[in-house]
Symmetry: D2
Subunit: 281 residues, 4 copies
């Protein structure tokens, strides 16, 4: 099992947790720990071997309850092999969707994708190619809330625990962001916090930067300002046109988004305030 | 000789220039060319071999005058071996100064440094170590203009053609920026245009970015907004403190600044509006 | 039109070529030039605008013949918009094939893929997904020459000008390499010349390197020793298992191979001896 | 205190160590752990807060003895603030020496440098500049052993615990390597294991690679084959001459070497067989 936990720092936390695991008959396979010296906050991810016994797993999870509460912790247990069920939201740019599906099918990212949603139908053929249901839900200007209620319903029906916004070109209503807080990942096509908002590659071209980038982050109601999970950059030169930036940026977007989704699905991310602790693999 | 030239684009420019060089008895050793398809502007850098004859050089430069004007060009001829005479402005962070001097003495950057100026005296020992005159000119809050008049006088007396602001922590008066337009290079300790202004590493820490950077740019009166010459980035992780960002950023600053100064000194940069064309080597 | 040309260096080459283009009624849109100072060899790529007239194009190509010969040049004219017809050879690793097809369909690489060939059938479903004919030609140990004759026949029938070996796990017979000299691109899953031969990721793991890579190169009969077109690297840490290296390496392989195929298809590569001149875009 | 420890893996090691620390009145400030799943070996680095009491420190170190032995561990305790005393060996390339001294004086690397040794006198002026004793010990071809006895004597007299070979261009005798096993760091100017041996940049140029690099590793009697601590790479293009590779490589060398020395001095490296576990900061 994977245990992810964060709590206020205090002396003896590692010993307490290690003892608990030992006493419960588990063995630590891998432990990643971090203490934020400024916030005085403790973060840990432990890969615990409890053998094949499901009842031992269950019992460890139950017993942990009172320990967890006594240290004011937030925590989560999950089976390391479990796939994450993710719905993907798209508009018309294909590369991130293609990349995610290709990695899902190669086993690179442990995802199950029950549903692809588009506010346009451009990418339906890609969904068909992978035999994944595609749902077209247009977003109407005057009636955005209702459109997103339809998104929410479709997502919930699909059983998705995670939303991936793979170049979904719609600003989400605050309530929608709230619902999926901590489980919706967006890719922004700039090196945030530079070039917030629309047309970042055009902005980058006009500013004459020599490096462009992309940012994968959790969605919050504060546009482009959610906790960053990963970023990727590429060098550009004076001879690159805005179209070249778009092309070079596509690789950055695919790499940053797929790593972020991978870390999340492997229970390697802990959100703390507006930041992420990422125990990379 | 190195010829750097820019002008409105029109058909036949390469042929015109190549013919001129050929007819004047020169030979093209290296040619880098770029046409901006949006501004319809032509940029070229030509390394011309004219043999050892100084008079042939002189005559080519003189004859070029009418051709240059006929195509509405800005241009510059310079000897490729010539060192650039540069004054370095510092405050108290040593790394960029150390790096520039170390590269100057190894011959990596073709500089001559007749003068180091500081608004504090912290780095005087480094100047001493390299036996370069150090001038302490404090910047007084109430009398900034006068202080910078003193800077200007000292710089002009030193014969410097180029100013390098190696973590000089003072905002320059607009008139001063104007005087050294196109020949003052600053290093900003962030990946511009992110984190403009003070304390960029602290800003980066608070935003939780996963990549930090540094930006070398020409100074303009518009703070942190001048033409970018080069940028450098470094990955950061959740365990990096603000002090770690400062440390990792130092390498970015040294690399971006030294490359920018190198390109400039080797006549490899053409400024066009708020951008640079950099014919890298 | 794109003109790619290389020849022994001599004074006046740029002027000669620029004049030829000017006199033939063409205009230089973009010119990239390089002179190898050691081999004294001249390389140039010129994007020439000749308007819409096919006859003017034809006439320029014909007229160039005698000029080209007079300077002992190798040269090639091609239409900039033309797609390159490429056959892809695969075994069982899907990522490079997926990546190439995804980029082909997004228009990122100007390819047409009439045929995918496999010595196994594992990737036939991907070919089906993209509706590209798949041909299974097993390679028999005792009868390798005959197997590769079958490959050759299938490739020639398909009209392919370029072969892309997208993790094709067979050593090609020398005669086959000879036939496709300069038009077969392979991806080697190591940072060549390190870890030549089989199982490079395992070799890298055992050596304990901190950076791994991938190399796209033209195929020659000298295994893993052909002219390198591009390389890509990724950092690894002590906690990465051999399987992690394989995973991280996949991104390097896709990026290096797709860039190499892109440069080749856009006529941006000139082979010279065992090296490449790559005029990047 | 910093505790670095490695031992055969077994269940309960984290709990055992955490308990020991807790019972001894210490608190874990930071813990980095890694289990090698192939060798079944356990590695850990713990930053322990024991307050200001030197006697408590002493007692913890003494008490640990029997625990350490009982789990067949190798371990080391060190004060986190302690500077590492390092002798630097050089020949004539200045950049790595300059970079190390500049970082030492800025506090970036916690070193004390009591002695610089050269088989030539070229860099004596740099030692003078930093007021560090310089010892010239030529290496005579016929009498290499005796020369290196002189090195050993000088190093031991200086009190150095660490040797840094900052582009020291001499092959060390096996016995010398043995003496300083695990505490001599060399920088090799190639991306090992590519281009082992002499003139790696020339080799890289001839092979036409598109990325070059540098490797910092512990010295062993097996030339260029010791445990790698860090590596750094830079992109090269067709227009880079062998001299350009040397220039671009210098930055790689400085960065890889300084990081390696930094990790070592901060007790962040554990050697295991021919590999390193590096708990980066």
């Amino acid at each position: 099992m994977i245990l992810k936990l964060s709590c206020p720092d205090r002396p003896g936390l590692v010993a307490t947790l290690a003892n608990f695991i030992s006493v419960s008959g588990g063995n630590i396979l891998e432990m990643s720990q971090f203490t934020d010296p400024i916030d005085e906050w403790f973060f840990i991810r432990i890969h615990i071997d409890v053998g094949d016994s499901k009842s031992k797993e269950r019992s460890m999870i139950d017993t942990f309850e009172s320990l967890g509460r006594s240290i004011d912790a937030s925590w989560e247990f999950r089976s390391p092999g479990a796939k994450t069920c993710a719905a993907i939201l798209v508009t018309k740019a294909a590369h991130c969707l293609q990349d995610l599906l290709s990695r899902t099918y190669s086993g690179d990212i442990p995802l199950e994708v029950p549903l692809i949603l588009g506010n346009r139908t451009d990418l339906e053929p890609i969904a068909d190619r992978y035999e994944i249901p595609f749902r077209h839900i247009p977003v109407e200007k005057g009636n955005k809330e209702a459109s997103f209620d339809a998104y929410r319903e479709a997502i919930d029906d699909s059983g998705a625990q995670l939303l991936v916004l793979a170049r979904f070109m719609q600003i989400l209503p605050p309530a929608f962001c709230e619902t999926y807080s901590g489980r919706a990942i967006n890719i922004h096509h700039s090196f945030l916090p530079a070039f917030i908002g629309a047309n970042p590659y055009k902005q980058a071209f006009q500013r004459g930067v020599k490096i462009i980038g992309a940012t994968a982050h959790y969605v919050t109601s504060n546009l482009d300002a959610g906790p960053i999970i990963d970023q990727e950059v590429a060098r550009v030169e004076h001879f690159h046109t805005p179209e070249d930036l778009v092309r070079l940026g596509r690789d950055c977007e695919c790499l940053a988004l797929s790593r972020a989704v991978r870390y999340h699905s492997n229970d390697r991310v802990i959100i703390h305030g507006n930041k992420t602790i990422v125990f990379r693999d």
